[in-house]
Structure formats: C-alpha cells, structure tokens
C-alpha cells in the first residue's frame, strides 16, 4: 500500500473521510462520505433559558453564526407567541442580507473561484485565492476584502460586535439605525451591488465563455435530478429571512409548501449504520436509498435549490440574472450541481439589492423595534435560509421558558444524502479500471461536494485551519489499494 501524506501536521480526528469500494472489475461499487457529527447538543441545551439560545447556538459554528442567531431568534418569536413590529422585521432582514453578501462573497472567491479561474487540473499550490489574484489582478482581491469589511461593519453596527452579534430578541431586535447609520448602509449597499455585478461578469468571462467549463458544469458526472427546497415569499420569490418552505419535484412542479411549524409533517430522517449523520428526506415521498429521481425522497437545499424552488427573485437586477441563468442552462429546474456556484452569485446580487431597498425603507429608522412578549412559552420553530441551505431550529420549553427539547436541522445535514450521491457519481466517472488513481482525483471529488458549501464541524478553526480530507479506496477484497490524504 502506498500512503501519501501531504501535510506534516494533519488532524486525525474530525476530518471528512471518503471510502470508496471497488468491484472485481475495478469499477466503483460503493462510496461513503463521512463527516464528524457534533455530539450532545440536545442534552447540552436542556435546562437552559430559551432566550439564551440565539447567543448559544450562534457559537456552534465559526462559519455562519448569523444564520443560527436568526433562526433561533425567529424560533423564539414563535415560542413566546409574539409578532415583532414591522421595522424590527425589516432590520433583521437588512442584517441578514448584509451577512449574505459577506458569506456568498467568501465562498465564491475563496472556494469556487480557484477551480474555475485556475482550472480543476491546476496544481494544488496554485489552486487558491493567491492563484486567482495572480491571474485576475490584485484589484479584485482588494474588492473582495473591502466588500467583506464594509458588510461586517453593518453587522457590527447592529449587533454591537462583528462576531457573535447580540441583535435578535424575541419580539424584535436590540438596536435600530439612526439616520447617519442608515446613510452609511445605503452607500455600502450600492457598493455591494456593483461588486455583485462585477462578480457575475467575472463568472461570465471566465466560466461561461469557456466551453470546457460549461461542458463540465452540464456533464452527467455532476448532475442529479432531485427535489429542491427553499424559503419563498407570498409570491413564491426567493427569501432568505422569512416565508414558507417550498419544495419542487425534479420536473420543477410544486410538491409541497409549508409553514415552519409543519416541517415534521414533511421531513423525516433516515439513519445509516455507517454514519452518525442523519439523512433527511421528504416524508411524503419516502426513503428509497441514495438515488435521485421523482420516486426518491432525497432533496437538496442549496442556492441552486432556492432558485429552483422559487418563481423568481424579488429585485430587478437579480431577476435579470435569474432569467439568464435558466435561459443559458436550458430551463427550470437546473439539476447541475456545479451551477450552484452561479446561483450563489445571483443570490449575492439579490442580497445587495435587498440591502439597498431596506436601507431606503421609510420604516428602517423607526424606534419601534420590539414587542415585549407576554404569553407563556411552550414550543417554537424558526426557519431561515442559511447561505448553504435551509436551517431549522425547534425548541420545546416549560412555562418558564426552560428548554426541555431542542432540535436543529442544519443545511449540511439537509444535503447529506445528496452530497453522498454527488461524491459517488464523481468517483464512478473518474475511477476507471486500469486507469491510475491520482491526486487530481481528490480535487474532482472535492469539486463534487464543494458547491454544497459544507459546514463540517471540523472546518471552523482548529489548526491548521483547513478541513482535512481522506479518500480511502478498497479493492473487492476490501484491501486498501490507495489512500489520498490532505
């Protein structure tokens, strides 16, 4: 067995592990993508005050604390039976839109960008943001940093601090905007729109004008016909902060549309013996295994899913980008996983435009930002769209608001079955009898799961700061024939 160790310091625990089993002919028989699951959250939550949950849950993850903060805050509205005043809802959405701008920017330029700008076969050492700026120029790198900093500034402005904000409260928010701050937000929103337009142009120039890349995006290796999930407003347009969950089938027809409270009537979880992770599926279709198609309850909840599950975008430029997206890729729904990167940019533009709309809303500087809850708490469900997919918080408390039960379905878990299928399909396409298994395989397999923007427990910050991954390939006798590691 030849073992390749890439890093001198590599974590053993907490890494993503892909095991691939070959048949006698040397073809892929099966594959398993395992990620570490955080343990004991429910027990940890029990006995805590429900109103502490927006602060606690946002600390779960160093990647999208704002999404947990917002899902938890909305869950508390429901739990305490309180409807926030309109300015508070708008401030929350403004806060959430600015967060989306930072998160989608980071994902596209840091993660997706290198594959397309440098190419999937570029050497590992060049396939990163440094390679990207070497190729497209420092100016764009500066724009990425500036956009992030400015939008973090808004999070800081409203949340009191840039990391782990203290903003959402049951029935409203802790702080509003004054006129000076509003003007600042308006300017940042305008700049962010320009940045989003530039990003779509970069995608257009580098990806869409390159036939090889377009061929790869629409190739079968990166395609799955699944159900799609996303929050929509009352006109079925994409909404990150609020609305109903809409699910469309692989033909794009509405399959379900439900309020957060009804999520358990629609989604169930399948358990596999080889993974701690549960695999959510559509209850009313049923679990048929890791397969796509209309008879399989596997769904996806990603930026691409949100576009597929909606009838359009609520802002003009994003709507144009949405239309171009579907006209270029042959109509709705789009099943090509790699198109998720493009969908993310359409959403980036929407988030920036929505930020501008909200910054100009006459109510946005209103001091009426909280309705004090007076009802007894019992049970609540809050759903938002995290940048990487639908995020659900569900708490049950006693009448003093002490948590008795807490359940979280995070985006990565929603997509767990689909990620496995994507990895499997890529492996099948790439591992051929008699063909040497190379380091390049690792990147192609990573490309299959990268669009899902996985939020692995291990991906946050423990040194060396990157998510270690291991691919182990077994022959039909279950002997290890290759181990690729980074």
């Amino acid at each position: 067995m030849k073992r390749i160790t890439i890093d001198p310091i590599t974590r053993l625990e907490g890494h993503g592990k892909i095991e691939i089993f070959l048949n006698d002919a040397g073809e892929v028989k099966n594959s398993y993508f395992q990620v570490p699951e955080l343990r004991g959250f429910e027990k940890f939550s029990e006995g805590r005050l429900a109103e502490d949950m927006p602060q606690i849950t946002q600390r779960i993850c160093g990647v999208c604390p704002e999404a947990h903060h917002m899902a938890s805050t909305k869950c508390l509205d429901d739990l305490f039976h309180v409807d926030p005043p309109s300015p508070a809802k708008k401030l929350r959405e403004l806060f959430y839109s600015t967060f989306y701008v930072t998160d989608h920017t980071t994902h596209f330029y840091i993660l997706a960008g290198p594959d397309f700008v440098m190419g999937p076969d570029a050497p590992v050492a060049e396939r990163n943001i440094l390679g990207v700026i070497a190729k497209v120029g420092l100016e764009l790198g500066g724009a990425v940093i500036n956009t992030r900093m400015k939008n973090h500034h808004i999070i800081h402005m409203l949340g009191g601090r840039a990391v782990h904000p203290v903003f959402g409260l049951p029935g409203g928010v802790s702080k509003g905007l004054n006129e000076d701050e509003r003007k600042e937000v308006e300017q940042i929103a305008k700049d962010s729109i320009e940045f989003a337009k530039l990003s779509l142009k970069v995608f257009d120039d580098i990806v869409l004008k390159n036939k090889a890349y377009v061929d790869m995006i629409v190739s079968d290796a990166f395609t799955h016909r699944t159900y799609y999930m996303g929050l929509v407003d009352d006109k079925n347009r994409v909404n990150f902060y609020d609305g109903k969950v809409r699910v469309v089938d692989p033909d794009g027809k509405e399959f379900a549309k439900y309020a957060p409270r009804e999520y358990l009537n629609n989604v169930a979880e399948h358990v596999e013996p080889w993974s701690y992770m549960k695999f959510p599926f559509l209850k009313n279709v049923g679990w048929k295994g890791f397969v796509d198609g209309k008879d399989s309850g596997v769904f996806r909840a990603t930026p691409l899913s949100r576009l597929n599950a909606s009838d359009g975008m609520a802002t003009p430029l994003a709507q144009e980008a949405y239309e171009k997206f579907y006209s270029t890729l042959g109509g709705k729904p789009v099943h090509h996983t790699l198109a998720t990167h493009w969908a993310r940019l359409v959403e980036l533009l929407y988030a920036a435009e929505r930020l501008l709309e909200l910054s100009k809303d006459p109510e946005i500087t209103s001091p009426n930002i909280r309705t004090i809850p007076t009802a007894k708490p019992d049970e609540g469900v809050g759903i938002v769209e995290a940048p990487r997919g639908t995020l659900t918080h569900h708490y049950i408390t006693d009448e003093n608001g002490i948590i008795k039960k807490a359940n979280l379905i995070v985006a990565t878990v929603n997509n767990a079955a689909a990620v496995n299928m994507s990895v499997n399909k890529a492996a099948r396409a790439l591992i051929q009898p008699g063909k040497e298994i190379t380091e390049g395989l690792l990147n192609r397999i990573e490309m299959a799961w990268r669009p899902y923007d996985l939020c692995l427990a291990c991906a946050t910050h423990t040194l060396p700061g990157q998510a270690p991954m291991e691919v182990v390939i077994y022959n039909s006798k279950r002997e290890i024939i290759k181990r690729l590691k980074r």
Partner: protein, 163 residues
C-alpha cells in the same frame, strides 16, 4: 471587531494582539479562549489587545490588520501528538498547507499571504501557541483534564514571550 471603525482606531497606536481561537461550547476546542481569558486577568497594558473569537480564514485576517505583533492561541491535533502538549510555532510551520482545501475559507498562511499581497498592515511577527487536544466534537463547556492542565502552562509561556 472586524469593522472599519476599529481598523482606523487600531492604526493610530502600536500594538500586540493576542488572539484566542476556538469554541467554548465544544470541549477542548475552547482551550485557546480559556488561555486568552486568563491572560486578560493578568495583562493590563493599553498596547496589548486580547480578542477571543471563533472565526477562521479570511476573518482572521480582518482581525490581524493594524497590529505589529500577534500571538495566536488555538487547539491542534497532530499525528501521534500527546494530549496537553504545547507547541510554539511560526506561521511558516503551516507553509506546506498553503492551498484552499478547506470546506470553508482558507487556511492561515494563505490568508496571511493574501493580506500581504493586498498591502494590508499585518503583524511583522506572529507566534502561534497550539495545544494538543483530544475532544472537539462533544458539546461541553470545559476541557478534558489533560488539556485543562495545559492552560496555566500556556499562559505562563505567553507571559514569558511578552516579556
């Protein structure tokens, strides 16, 4: 902390940043934050800033901007590492890992190099104190015993480093 406002404030005076990284909800993952909190009790100098945070990658870069010297404290897991062992490392220790293999963001050396290329004011000297940990996936607000014991040791090492 990453805001423009603080950036301009930081730029106007000299300074050392002590950055505790981790997550106190996840057992040993909080060790960097516990060390930073202890240091906060012992250090009261206007030119030393202590920040405790759970962010990574590019967001780390945002935090480092404007400082001359930085000390980073974090958890680490190495092959065959002894739980509770403390390593004093330079960022170059991770140079072989410069790439974007992470599921989120970029690793530290890549972020630093990116910042340098963009001409950001970043610390000339960065020292990393990394503590070998055991459990970072169980929700528990304390470290395992061996890691717990390393906290005062690491605090002493950092105080010595500052002197």
């Amino acid at each position: 902390m990453t805001a423009i406002r603080e950036f301009s404030h930081k730029a106007s005076s000299t300074k050392t940043l002590i950055l505790g990284l981790g997550n106190t909800l996840l057992c040993d993952d909080g060790v960097g934050l516990y060390v930073a909190a202890k240091l906060r009790e012992k250090i009261n100098q206007p030119n030393i800033t202590i920040i405790e945070t759970g962010v990574a990658g590019l967001s780390l870069l945002d935090l480092l901007v404007g400082y001359d010297k930085a000390i980073i404290v974090d958890a680490i897991q190495t092959e065959g590492g002894k739980i509770g062992q403390i390593y004093r490392l330079a960022p170059e220790a991770f140079n072989t890992a410069v790439r974007t293999a992470s599921a989120h963001g970029i690793d530290f050396p890549t972020a630093l190099e990116f910042g340098k290329k963009l001409g950001l004011h970043l610390p000339q000297q960065i020292t990393i104190f990394a503590i070998e940990v055991s459990d970072i996936t169980t929700f528990r607000e304390e470290c395992t015993p061996e890691v717990q014991k390393a906290i005062p040791k690491c605090v002493e090492m950092i105080l010595k480093e500052l002197n």
